[in-house]
């Protein structure tokens, strides 16, 4: 389990780095965004002295304390789940805003990413297996798809399936008339609204999985152990799945780190196009209102989510690759 421990250590270091970036950014930036922010906050109405105090601590306006002390105070706030107050949704706190939006994003982006990964890996394995056949005609198409901006794909999908054909709703996460609850009405309505954004994310991200898997399959199939498996007379399907694909998929999982941050970045923009009530849309509103506490809170949460997804990928890697378990 040395491998997993090392990965855990890396995750903690990255989380620490992200939190520190978050702390130092507003303090290092030119101009005085903090003053601006406080002024805006005061315009919103009476700010309680407590909230003001918290703001001052969070953004370093408190001249009486040194940077080091501020840094530790910041950590203390984080552990209490206090990310400051949102300007856009005043007087809600940033944690509340994120808490409302996060489930939508987790389900939408999580499910679409898993679908896209599975679909792309299977397709890529098949295309790599049949190298040089008609199946390769899909490669130029996936090259094109992988270069399409996610949100633009969203616009196209909306105008085709939403506006033109009228099959799916154009925007939002659920119909206005229905109250969010766990009733079957609401859940089916929400799923209905999630179809188009999910299709958009899958279409935009599947290509890179296909290309990655295909290239690894081509490399792996030249290995001796694949030849041996074939010579033993194992069925083609077994050679393909248990020998070639199993080894070819490792880099895909290892490269998950890079991909997931790519996919998440793209998906945030997709949410904006669809006015989907997730983190990406909150981020958009935060940008439009220069709501820095919300922006930074969202940055932290997304980073944590990505780190968590990476840990899951690491566990999958350990399960798939016995070599990582050797020194356990």
């Amino acid at each position: 389990m040395k491998f997993l421990l090392r990965r855990l250590g890396f995750t903690l270091i990255t989380a620490w780095a992200a939190i520190s970036i978050n702390f130092f950014l507003p303090r290092l930036m030119p101009g005085d965004p903090v003053q601006l922010m406080v002024a805006r906050l005061q315009q919103q109405g009476a700010v309680s002295p407590n909230a003001m105090q918290a703001m001052q601590v969070a953004f370093g306006l408190d001249d009486h304390t040194s940077l080091i002390v501020q840094y530790f105070q910041y950590w203390g706030q984080l552990f209490r789940g206090d990310l400051g107050r949102s300007i856009t949704f005043y007087p809600s706190s940033v944690s509340e805003v994120i808490g409302q939006a996060l489930p939508w994003t987790l389900v939408l982006v999580g499910v679409s990413t898993v679908i896209s990964f599975l679909l792309g890996t299977v397709l890529g394995a098949f295309i790599g297996w049949r190298r040089g056949s008609w199946a390769e005609t899909i490669l130029p198409l996936s090259t094109f798809l992988s270069s399409v901006p996610y949100f633009w794909m969203g616009l196209i999908v909306i105008s085709l399936f939403g506006a033109k054909l009228g099959w799916f709703p154009l925007s939002g996460g659920f119909d206005q008339g229905i109250d969010p609850s766990w009733s079957s009405d609401f859940v089916s309505n929400a799923l209905y609204h999630a179809v188009l954004p999910a299709i958009t994310i899958v279409l935009s991200s599947v290509a890179s999985w296909i290309l990655g898997m295909r290239n690894m399959m081509v490399t792996v199939m030249d290995e001796d152990y694949v030849l041996v498996a074939q010579a033993k007379g194992l069925s083609r399907l077994r050679v393909l799945s248990a020998y070639a694909a199993r080894n070819a998929v490792l880099p895909s999982i290892a490269g998950f780190a890079l991909s997931i941050s790519f996919v998440v970045s793209g998906s945030l923009l997709v949410e904006i196009v669809f006015s989907y009530p997730g983190i990406g849309y909150s981020l958009y509103q935060a940008v439009n209102n220069e709501d820095f506490p919300l922006m930074q809170g969202i940055f932290l949460i997304i980073t944590f989510a990505v780190l968590l997804a990476n840990l899951v990928a690491d566990v999958a890697y350990v399960l798939l690759d016995p070599r990582t378990r050797q020194d356990a």
Binding site: K2, R6, R7, F10, T14, A17, I21, N22, L25, P26, M29, P30, W129, R131, G132, E136, P140, T143, S146, S147, V148, P149, W152, L155, I156, L170, S208, L211, G212, R214, M216, V218, T219, D222, L250, P251, S252, A254, G255, A257, L258, S259, S261, F262, V263, V264, S265, G266, L269, L283, Y284, V287, F292, M295, Q296, I302, T303, V306, L307, T324
Partner: protein
């Protein structure tokens, strides 16, 4: 990924992140620390073979866009910011790509916007590649604690999601010019290239000719610049192309969010105005389709070029090496690759 199979879990962080570009448009082989001999000038035949269809197609596509960026503002039929009487007009002879919600000519915006889009992309690509070369090659060459720290740094930047960080950064830098935008993008885009370059450097730093240079008393920087860099230049090129693509996609996203100076025409800015004027609900597809299509095409061009480089590094990836009969005969797919002309690099493996 040969790196993983060669030395399982010896360096966990590195292995897991080992630079296969699965997420990027051009995946796979470049991280393979097989040392290609691209830099060997004594083998011109090989170089000619890499001018595959993909490579040429990519070159042509990119050439067209570069031309567009160069002469676009000169040949644009209208002033892109000029308000016209025809509002939201579909494509016609007067306006080949229609007009926007304020009567501006979409074609002119596309032509003028190409320059800004490409400049930011290439600039960010250059800065990021420079950073990744310095950090990746130095780390791989020096080794030890310095290497551990440098690769930890690049791994952290690799994992932290780029867009939210960029949004926070550009949010604090309101209305940054193209250079500021490019600099900020390259700050988040260098890590991948650095990882790949480091892996490649690690694999060649114990080669005899490097040792010879060391024994001969060449200073470290000289070995890096004159002995190592020429041998990783295919990877360098591939990393540069990938970063340009990343930079173009990212800046379009940032502009779409309105985080750049939206009075300077670029394709992302076009999409920003289209979105804020609700072009989608107005059914004005001619407004938002062209800029996105242009981005996708330029990305395809870069990716195709990158395939050329990749196949150059790893000849097994050439799909057209098995065209026709050979492909049909190998219906099962498990055929040893046709090695018509085994090169030393392939034998090594």
């Amino acid at each position: 990924m040969a790196e993983t199979s060669d030395r399982p879990a010896t360096d966990a962080v590195d292995d897991v992140l080992a630079g296969d570009r699965v997420g990027g448009p051009v995946p796979g082989a470049a991280a393979d620390p097989l040392v290609s001999e691209p830099a060997d000038p004594g083998r011109p035949r090989r170089r000619r073979r890499t001018m595959s269809g993909k490579f040429v197609a990519g070159l042509v596509i990119l050439g067209l866009f570069v031309l567009m960026a160069a002469i676009g503002p000169l040949v644009a039929p209208y002033d892109p910011s000029n308000l016209g009487p025809d509002v939201l007009a579909p494509p016609s002879w007067q306006h080949w790509l229609g007009t926007t919600g304020t009567g501006q000519d979409v074609l002119s915006q596309l032509l003028v916007g190409a320059r800004q889009t490409l400049i930011i992309g290439v600039l960010a690509g250059l800065i990021a590649t420079a950073i990744s070369t310095i950090i990746g090659v130095t780390g791989g060459f020096v080794g030890g604690i310095a290497d551990d720290l440098l690769s930890l740094l690049s791994n952290v930047f690799l994992v932290v999601p780029a867009l939210p960080l960029l949004i926070v950064l550009t949010g604090y830098l309101p209305n940054g010019g193209p250079v500021a935008v490019a600099a900020v993008i390259s700050l988040t885009g260098w890590a991948w290239g650095s990882r790949v370059l480091r892996a490649q450097t690690l694999s060649i730093r114990r080669r005899d000719y490097i040792e010879a240079a060391r024994v001969a008393g060449e200073p470290g920087w000289r070995i890096i610049v004159f002995e190592i860099l020429p041998h990783v230049r295919a990877i360098l090129a591939s990393s540069f192309l990938f970063t340009v693509l990343f930079a173009i996609l990212t800046q379009v996203g940032l502009a779409f969010l309105g985080l750049v100076d939206v009075s300077q025409w670029s394709w992302g800015v076009m999409l920003y105005w289209a979105q804020s004027a609700d072009a989608l609900n107005a059914g004005a597809w001619w407004w938002f389709v062209p800029p996105g299509l242009a981005v996708a095409l330029i990305g395809t061009g870069l990716a195709l070029l990158n395939f050329g480089v990749d196949e150059f590094i790893n000849p097994r990836l050439r799909s057209n090496s098995l065209r026709g009969r050979a492909a049909r005969d190998s219906a099962g797919g498990f055929t040893p690759v046709v090695r018509t002309d085994p090169q030393p690099s392939e034998v090594q493996r």
